[in-house]
Symmetry: C2
């Protein structure tokens, strides 16, 4: 079947699908000399480094996104961004992506082109090139991406097990926007539009089109941070993972956590909780000394922002299991029902 005969409404065959992806990805034979692009058994790519960063992340319809309340473009975007965020959290830049699409046989050509436009849009924006993948038939849509990355400093990956007592804990930007967007979407679905329209738009944008901090991975590495991860499942849960890996505990001052301004305005009563526990903001959380944090902040903020994003500190491990303690402004411990989002517990 030639592409001009293919209707956007038509169901798709595996060979059509490969052809669409080849056209979108390889362009007009633009594969560099010595490389092999989409359409062979595997891709062959230039990669002249001593190390490779490799990650995989998958999203399932009904678990990580709802295909009936999200555009195909945004679904494709988010799946790439979550991988770019993992690459950034290692102190690396995205290089190559392979995409596995598990889709119902009834998926229309136009839907697939929507997914691809989101995939390629995020790659164009934050780095990386789609070089291959696989398509399989499935009841529900599952998008699985694997990406390679190149370390900005081959001697200095950003790891989880390098937090030390005395480090401060910082985040690279305001949190809770994605969780606020989910709340706004649910209310809108119920016919409630009680919040300011600009705030609603900002929160929905944070939820549907998050931005990975690929731009700050370089500053973290350059200014000597050694411990970072991305906030994908919620600050408290992800910080606990750092504590588990590093053999330390952490204390968080709830009042110091930067909150997405639109979230603070729209839902002030739950804003702090969502900033502490909401997932998928894709900011980075890192442990470092005050000087490193000030340097990283100077790379993104002008003026008096040296202490931006400092949310707490690392302390020695108190008991067997790692613990992240959250304190209110009076220094009293706050308990949460859920520290974050566990996809299997939900």
């Amino acid at each position: 079947m030639h592409s001009d005969e293919r209707s956007a409404q038509a169901p798709i065959s595996e060979s059509d699908l490969v052809e669409i992806i080849k056209q979108r990805v390889n362009g007009g034979g633009a594969v560099p000399d010595g490389e092999v692009g989409v359409g062979d058994d595997a891709a062959v790519l230039r990669f002249d480094a001593d190390h490779i960063v490799l990650t995989a992340d998958a999203m399932v319809d009904g678990v990580h996104f709802l295909s009936d309340s999200m555009t195909w473009h945004d679904i494709g975007w988010k799946c790439i961004v979550s991988n770019q965020s993992d690459i950034a959290a290692m102190g690396a830049q995205p290089e190559h992506a392979v995409l596995t699409l598990a889709i119902p046989a009834t998926t229309r050509v136009g839907d697939l082109e929507g997914i691809l436009s989101g995939v390629i849009g995020a790659l164009d924006r934050y780095g990386g090139k789609l070089v291959g993948g696989d398509t399989v038939s499935s009841d529900r849509i599952i998008i699985s991406v694997s990406m390679t990355g190149r370390l900005l400093n081959e001697e200095k990956p950003l790891k989880r097990d390098t937090a030390r007592p005395g480090h401060l804990v910082a985040v690279t930007g305001p949190l809770g926007g994605s969780a606020g967007g989910l709340m706004a979407m649910k209310e809108a679905t119920q016919g409630k539009h009680q919040i300011n329209a600009d705030d609603e738009a900002q929160l929905l944008n944070a939820h549907f089109r998050p931005n990975p901090r690929v731009d700050l991975a370089g500053a973290l590495v350059e200014f000597g941070a050694e411990c970072a991860m991305d906030v994908s499942d919620g600050l408290l849960l992800d910080l606990e993972r750092i504590c588990v890996a590093s053999g330390v505990d952490a204390v968080v001052d709830a009042a110091r956590v930067p909150i997405e301004p639109a979230l603070q305005r729209a839902y002030p009563e739950v804003a702090t909780e969502l900033a502490l526990t909401g997932g998928e903001d894709y900011e980075l959380v890192y442990a470092a000394d005050a000087e490193t944090i000030a340097d990283v902040n100077s790379a993104q903020h002008s003026g008096e922002k040296a202490q931006f994003g400092i949310v707490g500190k690392i302390i020695p491990r108190q008991r067997t299991d790692a613990k992240v303690t959250v304190l209110d402004e009076a220094g009293r411990e706050i308990e949460f029902d859920a520290k974050g989002w566990d996809h299997f517990a939900g």
Copy 2:
């Protein structure tokens, strides 16, 4: 939860799952200096080469395997092998694997350990190291693997678009065993055990535990082959893909196609058809001159086997679309209903 408290029958949480994989993969802190293993945002691995080979392949319960008629070990094995086969078909050796498991929340710890034992078994046998992945919740099991590989000769990947008129077409081993195993399994399920027990065991083994030809990728590259792919969807369909990519046609002599001996004995009336159209044998099909084929054969067969596996030849493209013509012993064209397995058409 500590691992000794975990029952093989218990349902699994995401953090348990990561812990099980870490224990199986990282061993006792055996990650080499400068690398980062399972449990961080991404893996960091030594890869000091100018090019990387990158592939992805997924398997869906009910489409590519049936979890109620296959062990978890074999499911894990097959998913790795299909990727190793793609790597071999590029003239490369497997290096790293990332595994994405989409599994129901009710999946038991013992089942997961079965999948992992198959995954790690195939990696130990044919090369590659499990370095990371992701786990997501899903109605049905989908196993998605991405692998990196290292070219045996960085100047000479084996490609699909390099078949030329005058080349002969050869396969690296007998075909049809996997399709014969599927037939034997269906008959056994219906209570029929009409074929010889040894043949049945061999065919089931070919279907459930196929072997990728990682061992022959080196001979193909060394002796000057430039065009190869693996037989994953059936010889005729995969050879057609070579013809499409290379702008040529092919002619296959059905009588010369090497048939799995157990298939020939067990199902003689359909053996040739299954050898031509059955998928998942994971032999390599390649186009090269007679001397190259003789050299490749000398690397695996002793004695008078110079012409082993030659099944046909490449000819100039006759019309607009690529065509693979199949001839019987009298030189008459044979038509098939299906050239092979298209997962979306089935």
